[in-house]
C-alpha cells in the first residue's frame, strides 16, 4: 500500500494560482470554497518588502485533529494516508473545521447548486453549454472509493456537509496525479508515494531542506514545504471574501 504525500517547493512557486483553478475544475468546488488556496504574503515595510506565496492544500495529517474529533467517523484516515470525508455520513456539526489549525475545511452552507459560478439551468447559458454535462454531474465524483467503499470524492453534492481537499482521490486511484500537481507549470508541487525512495516527492525532500506548517502542533502533516519559509511578520496581501 503506497503512503501518499506532497511536497511544495516555495522557491519554485510563482503564485500563478493555476493549482487553485485546476482544483476548482476537477472537483467542482462552490463559490468561496478553495480546497487549494495560494496565500500571497508580504513582509517588511516599503521599500524593503518581500513577497512570498504559500499554496495550502489539506495537509492530510497523520495525527489529524479533525479525524480525532469527528463524532461519527465521517472524517477518516485511509490506509494510503489520505484524510477523507464521507459526505454520506457527515452530520454537519463542523467540529472538524473548529479543530483543524490549517483552516482547510469548507462547509456547504447553502445548496451547492445555488452557489455555482454560473446557472446551468438558465436558457441563455444553455445555448452556450450546448447540452454539455454540468460539472457537478461528473460521474467519477459520485462513485465510491477505497476498500471502505465510501462516498468521498469531489465537492458539491449536498448542503449541510463538510468538504475539503481529497488529494483528488478519484484521480489518484486511477494512477493519475492530483489536478493541482498535474497543472503546476513550475513543478513546485510533487505528489507520490513517500515510502518509495525514488518517488518525486521523496527525491525532492532529499535534495532540499523543508519544513511543515505549524510543526509545533504535532499534527504530522503529509505535505512538506521545501525552501525558505515566510517570515513571522508575513501578512496576507488580499483579503479573501469569507462573508459570502
Amino acid at each position: 500500500m503506497p503512503k501518499y504525500g506532497m511536497t511544495i517547493d516555495l522557491d519554485r512557486c510563482t503564485g500563478c494560482r493555476s493549482c487553485m483553478v485546476a482544483c476548482k475544475i476537477e472537483n467542482n468546488t462552490t463559490q468561496n470554497a478553495f480546497w487549494m488556496y495560494v496565500f500571497r504574503l508580504e513582509e517588511g515595510k516599503f521599500p524593503d518588502t518581500k513577497i512570498s506565496f504559500l499554496p495550502r492544500p489539506c495537509q492530510h495529517c497523520d495525527n489529524a485533529p479533525c479525524v480525532k474529533v469527528c463524532p461519527v467517523g465521517a472524517r477518516y484516515k485511509r490506509e494510503d494516508g489520505i484524510v477523507a470525508t464521507d459526505w454520506d455520513r457527515c452530520i454537519g456539526c463542523r467540529y472538524c473545521e473548529v479543530a483543524c489549525p490549517y483552516g482547510v475545511n469548507s462547509f456547504n452552507y447553502k445548496d451547492p447548486k445555488k452557489s455555482q459560478y454560473m446557472d446551468w439551468e438558465d436558457p441563455d447559458i444553455q445555448v452556450a453549454t450546448a447540452g454539455a454535462v454540468p460539472s457537478w454531474a461528473n460521474p467519477s465524483l459520485n462513485e465510491k472509493y477505497g476498500s471502505e467503499n465510501r462516498s468521498i470524492a469531489g465537492s458539491n453534492h449536498i448542503k449541510g456537509v463538510m468538504e475539503k481537499c481529497t488529494f483528488c482521490v478519484q484521480r489518484v486511484e486511477k494512477d493519475m496525479l492530483p489536478a493541482c500537481v498535474d497543472t503546476c507549470p513550475t513543478h513546485a508541487l510533487q505528489f507520490g508515494d513517500l515510502d518509495d525512495p525514488d518517488s518525486a516527492p521523496s527525491v525532492a525532500i532529499k535534495e532540499k531542506d523543508g519544513f511543515k506548517l505549524l510543526e509545533d502542533r504535532n499534527t504530522q502533516p503529509r505535505v512538506t514545504y521545501l525552501g525558505s519559509p515566510f517570515g513571522p511578520g508575513a501578512r496576507e496581501i488580499e483579503r479573501p471574501s469569507v462573508k459570502d
Partner: protein, 449 residues
C-alpha cells in the same frame, strides 16, 4: 398568622390550580415566540445554515454559545439541590424544587440548540450508529443523556410524595389530563414508613450519583473546546473554569426563578429574604472564584504574551471582543459581587439584580470564549468577523421561550415548593421564625445560615 404544614400544603396546591391572567398572557406570548422560532428553523432547514451569520473560519456561532450557556444554567439546579442536600443545609428546602425544574428544562433546551446548529439534524442517529469514542462530542452526547436521565429520576424521586399529596387533596378537582398525570406518577404512594424509607435511601443514592455526573457534564462540555489546538481554549484549567461558571450562572437563574415564582404564587411566607440572601452568598462565592480564575488566566498569559495568546488578549483588551469582555468583567462579575458585599444592597432586590447581571455576564463570557477562540487566525490571514442574523436570533429567542414555557408547565404539574422537604428539614418552623422576627423588628434583618 402562623404558617403550619397545613397552610403550606394549601398554598402550594392552590397555586397549582390557579391560572392567573398574567400566567395565561405570558404563556400565549412565549408560545408565539416558540412558533416564530420554529418558522425560522424550517427556513434554515430549507436554505441551509447560509441563513445564519456563520461562515467558514467562524463556524460556530450563537447556537453553540447558547448551548454552553444552558448547560451551565443547568448546573445551579443540581448544585443547589443535591450538594446542599449532601451538606444537610435546611434552607435549601423551598428552593430545591425550582432548582431541579431548571436543571431538566435547561438540559432539554441545550440539546435542542445542538440540533439547531447541525447541518444535517436528521443524521443525528449516526452518533449512535457510528459514534467514535475518541470524539469529545460523543462524550458530550452520552454525558448529556446521562445527565438528563439522572436529573429526571432525581426530580421524580423528590416530587413523588408531593404528587401523592396533590392526588389526595384535590385530585378529583383537577382537569382530566392533570388528574391522569398525578394519579399515574404518584404511583401508589401512601406515606407508609416502608415507602418513606425506600424513597429516602434512593434519594440519598441519587444525590451522591448526580453531583459527579453534573461536574462531569460541565467538564466534558469544556473539553469540546479544550481538546482542540486553539490557544485560548488549550488550557487544563478550562474544565474547572466551566464548572464554577456554571454554578455562578445556575445559582443566578434559580434566584430569578424563585423571585418570579414567589410573586406569581404568593409564596412570600415560605420563601423569605433569608433564602435569597443565602443564595446571594453562593452567588458571591462563585463570582469571587470566577474573578480569581479570570485574574490567574489573564496574568499568567498576559505576562508572557506569547504568540496566539497575545492575539487573544489584545482582542479582549481593546480589539473586536473588548466591549463584550469589559461588560462581562464589570457588569457580569464586579457589580454582582459589590452588590452582595455592600450591606445596604443585601436585599431581595439586590440579590435579584446581581443574579440577572451574573447571567448576562456569563452569556457574554460564553460568547467571547466561543467566537474569540474561533477568530484566532492560525494561518497568516486576517481575523474573521461574525454577526448573528435575524434567523439565528429568532431561533435563540424561540428556544429561550421554550425554556420558560417548560418551567411554567412544570409549575402547574406539581407543587412548586417541596412540601415534603420543608417538613423533613424543619424549614417550616424556620420560616415561621423569620416571620415572627420580621414582625418584631418591623423589617427583615440579615441572613441566618
Amino acid at each position: 398568622m402562623t404558617y403550619s404544614t397545613e397552610s403550606l400544603e394549601r398554598a402550594t396546591v392552590e397555586a397549582m390550580q390557579r391560572f392567573s391572567k398574567r400566567y395565561i398572557i405570558s404563556f400565549i406570548v412565549l408560545s408565539a415566540f416558540v412558533v416564530a422560532g420554529i418558522v425560522a428553523y424550517i427556513n434554515q432547514l430549507q436554505n441551509g445554515l447560509y441563513e445564519t451569520g456563520m461562515r467558514d473560519r467562524i463556524t460556530w456561532g450563537l447556537y453553540i454559545v447558547m448551548f454552553v450557556f444552558f448547560i451551565g444554567a443547568s448546573m445551579g439546579g443540581t448544585f443547589v439541590s443535591a450538594a446542599l442536600r449532601l451538606a444537610d443545609m435546611g434552607w435549601r428546602a423551598p428552593i430545591s424544587r425550582g432548582a431541579e425544574y431548571i436543571t431538566v428544562s435547561a438540559l432539554f433546551t441545550a440539546s435542542l440548540f445542538i440540533f439547531a446548529d447541525m447541518g444535517h439534524p436528521e443524521r443525528a442517529i449516526n452518533i449512535l450508529l457510528f459514534g467514535r469514542w475518541e470524539s469529545p462530542l460523543v462524550w458530550d452526547v452520552y454525558g448529556l443523556n446521562t445527565y438528563i436521565a439522572g436529573s429526571m429520576v432525581y426530580l421524580y424521586l423528590a416530587v413523588l410524595p408531593d404528587l401523592a399529596l396533590v392526588r389526595d387533596r384535590v385530585g378529583h378537582q383537577l382537569d382530566p389530563i392533570r388528574r391522569l398525570f398525578v394519579i399515574m406518577f404518584s404511583a401508589s404512594w401512601t406515606g407508609h414508613p416502608k415507602q418513606v424509607k425506600a424513597l429516602d435511601t434512593s434519594l440519598k443514592v441519587m444525590t451522591v450519583v448526580i453531583v459527579p455526573v453534573a461536574v462531569m457534564m460541565h467538564t466534558v462540555t469544556s473539553w469540546i473546546f479544550g481538546m482542540t489546538l486553539r490557544e485560548p481554549w488549550d488550557s487544563p484549567m478550562f474544565g474547572i473554569y466551566f464548572v464554577v461558571g456554571a454554578v455562578y450562572s445556575g445559582v443566578g437563574l434559580i434566584v430569578v426563578f424563585m423571585y418570579v415564582m414567589r410573586r406569581m404564587n404568593h409564596m412570600e411566607a415560605f420563601l423569605t429574604e433569608r433564602h435569597f440572601l443565602n443564595m446571594g452568598k453562593l452567588l458571591a462565592g462563585a463570582g469571587g472564584v470566577m474573578i480569581f480564575f479570570q485574574i490567574s488566566d489573564l496574568v499568567t498569559a498576559g505576562f508572557k504574551l506569547k504568540g496566539d495568546s497575545a492575539f487573544n488578549l489584545y482582542q479582549l483588551a481593546d480589539g473586536a471582543m473588548a466591549p463584550i469582555f469589559w461588560t462581562y468583567i464589570w457588569v457580569g462579575l464586579m457589580i454582582p459581587l459589590a452588590l452582595m458585599l455592600l450591606p445596604w444592597t443585601r436585599t431581595i432586590w439586590g440579590v435579584l439584580i446581581a443574579s440577572v447581571l451574573a447571567n448576562v455576564g456569563m452569556m457574554l463570557e460564553r460568547y467571547f470564549i466561543v467566537i474569540g477562540g474561533l477568530r484566532l487566525p492560525l494561518n497568516p490571514y486576517h481575523a474573521p468577523s461574525y454577526m448573528p442574523t435575524l434567523t439565528e436570533l429568532t431561533i435563540v429567542l424561540g428556544l429561550c421561550s421554550l425554556f420558560i414555557l417548560i418551567l411554567m408547565i412544570m409549575m402547574k404539574l406539581a407543587p412548586a415548593i417541596s412540601v415534603q422537604e420543608m417538613i423533613e428539614t424543619g424549614e417550616i418552623e424556620a420560616v415561621q421564625h423569620d416571620a415572627r422576627r420580621a414582625a418584631s423588628t418591623d423589617g427583615p434583618e440579615g441572613a441566618v445560615a
